[in-house]
């Protein structure tokens, strides 16, 4: 794919890519991810799994929101417009979109898949509620885009934007919703899952376990399911209803 834009977005980078051969992007479900090869990093061997932030059918671009966590992602964040990236996609399953009063909760760079998810809801005439959590204001991104697709509530650990604290403390975290869909750091997702159970609301989480292939072949990214079996996050996830998991 060809990089058509690389914009700073909060403390992240938003890469917009389009097929180099001009072909139409394949159908993608919100929650799916891409495996991105890192061409220029001496110390990076494997692809980097990046969740699908948005698909802009108007200009046939895929949006990838990337956080610098190491040499690989740093190299991707430094990609220049016009550069070519080898990307395998779409991978994994996705979020369900049948809910009528969904609550989407994102933490840190975990907000990425929620933008595309919210847009899919909009297409069905549903305007979702979102809770976006971050360490600080600077770690929130694409605020404008999010506020056009849903009703957004914010929480930051330092109180620099929205209420001070964690997503579970947001006023929007109520039992009025028929589905909670969450992506973020593991401790946050576990807290959200627990609260969802207390409220008796269905809950889907998108996991980020370390993976190599993204195809269900290497069996590295496993999570234990409710039967005690190890299931691949890449092929049977990344999105799971919490009732399917051991937690």
């Amino acid at each position: 794919m060809t990089v058509v834009a690389n914009e700073a977005a909060g403390s992240y980078h938003l890469l917009k890519v389009t097929p180099a051969d001009g072909r139409q992007l394949p159908e993608m479900v919100p929650g799916q991810f891409a495996e991105v090869d890192v061409p220029d990093s001496k110390t990076t061997f494997l692809r980097r799994p990046i969740s699908i932030n948005n698909v802009d059918s108007a200009d046939n671009t895929l949006w990838l929101l990337i956080r610098k966590t190491g040499a690989g992602t740093a190299s991707l964040c430094a990609t220049e417009t016009g550069a070519k990236l080898n990307i395998v996609l779409p991978l994994g399953n996705g979020f369900s979109t049948a809910a009528t009063r969904p609550l989407l909760i994102g933490g840190g760079v975990g907000i990425a898949p929620l933008l595309y998810l919210a847009r899919k809801y909009n297409e069905k005439g549903v305007r979702p509620t979102l809770i976006l959590g971050a360490r600080s204001k600077g770690d929130l991104a694409l605020i404008e885009e999010f506020e056009t697709v849903g009703d957004v509530f914010y929480t930051t650990e330092d109180g620099s934007h929205g209420i001070k604290g964690f997503v579970t403390m947001s006023e929007a975290f109520t039992a009025e919703h028929d589905l909670i869909q969450c992506c973020g750091p593991m401790p946050m997702m576990k807290a959200v899952a627990e609260r969802a159970r207390q409220l008796g609301v269905e809950c889907e989480v998108s996991l980020e376990n370390m993976m190599a292939c993204g195809l269900g072949a290497c069996l590295c990214c496993v999570e234990q399911d409710n039967k005690g079996h190890n299931v691949c996050v890449c092929s049977e996830g990344p999105v799971f209803n919490i009732n399917r998991l051991s937690w």
Partner: protein, 301 residues
């Protein structure tokens, strides 16, 4: 027109490129990316008598030009393979080889006996070198007696081509190779992963739940090529080379070192269509160098 056909004893391959066990699932995971019929063959993941859940997460760590894994032979067991996978792949044009693992000799034998009736399976690869299981696995692969014992037992239980996969974590891999040859192995494949370890210094914790795991990828290729070269000179049976093959050039290194066929492993994780590219790169090389038959290049070093 270059001939890429090779024979492992009486086992015929349309080309020398196989996939390494545990890196290619049951094949179907890659069907969206390549035509499985174009491969010399593919080796399905390590299969045991009973289903295994494998080791806890985390199971993987990226390392310089390689990766560590500690999957621990997670698989649904031989019965699942026979009932659910075999029917799907028995029509495949390329060879389908089953990697057989076990904790006890009896387990290896039992799996062989269950697979024996499956005509499409012309060969099995006996894994005596998995570094990620407590009993069996590498324990058998690091002594000549252990290697000979597993080979002898599976030889009795398996009627067709018997490949034994060797561990690189030994002082003399040629001694192990001779021992399995002596017990009737039809070929040997090497190398399995090297026992390695990585630490997350920021968290001050091992990267793997099992602390140590198996190193694979281009990082180990020089060791793998060396061992293939040594073993090919030490035994009369065919050698299958693997270890960090990412390209046709890499595959040719193993062939020139004495390998009759090669297995592509970790590279499948980075490029799901790499195997077919490698076959084409081997063909291109032969055409460029006016080599009519890939077999001319075997063991020229």
């Amino acid at each position: 027109m270059v001939n890429l056909n090779v024979n492992l004893g009486r086992l015929h391959l349309a080309n020398p490129v196989l996939t390494a066990s545990g890196t290619f699932g049951y094949g179907r995971e890659f069907a969206d990316f390549i035509d499985l019929n174009e491969l010399g063959g593919f080796i399905v993941k390590g299969t045991t008598l009973e289903p295994r859940e494998g080791n806890p997460y985390p199971r993987m760590a990226e390392t310089p030009s390689g990766m560590l894994n500690a999957v621990g032979l997670q698989n649904k067991g031989v019965d699942y393979f026979i009932e659910n996978i075999y029917p799907q792949i028995s029509g495949c044009k390329s060879q389908v080889i089953v990697n057989v693992s076990g904790a006890k000799i009896e387990d290896y034998v039992a799996v062989c006996e269950k697979l024996a009736p499956l005509d499409k399976i012309e060969a099995i690869e006996v894994n005596i070198s998995c570094p990620n299981v407590k009993q069996g696995g590498m324990a058998y692969g690091t002594t000549t007696d252990g290697a000979a014992e597993v080979t002898a037992a599976t030889r009795k239980a398996w009627p067709r081509h018997l490949i034994v996969k060797l561990s690189p974590n030994v002082t003399s891999i040629t001694d192990i190779a001779k021992a399995v040859e002596g017990e009737g192995a039809d070929s040997v494949s090497l190398i399995n992963t090297m026992l390695g370890m990585a630490i997350d210094v920021e968290r001050r914790k091992p990267m793997l739940s099992t602390i140590t795991g198996g190193l694979s990828g281009p990082a180990v290729r020089p060791v793998a090529v060396r061992m293939v070269w040594q073993v090919a000179k030490a035994v009369a049976i065919p050698v299958i080379g693997l270890g960090g093959i990412m390209s046709g050039r890499d595959a040719l290194e193993f062939i020139m070192a004495g390998a009759t066929a090669v297995e592509v492993g970790t590279a499948n994780f980075i490029d799901p269509s790499v195997t077919v590219k490698i076959i084409n790169e081997i063909r291109d090389y032969c055409e460029r160098h006016n080599i009519a038959d890939i077999n001319e290049l075997r063991g020229i070093i």
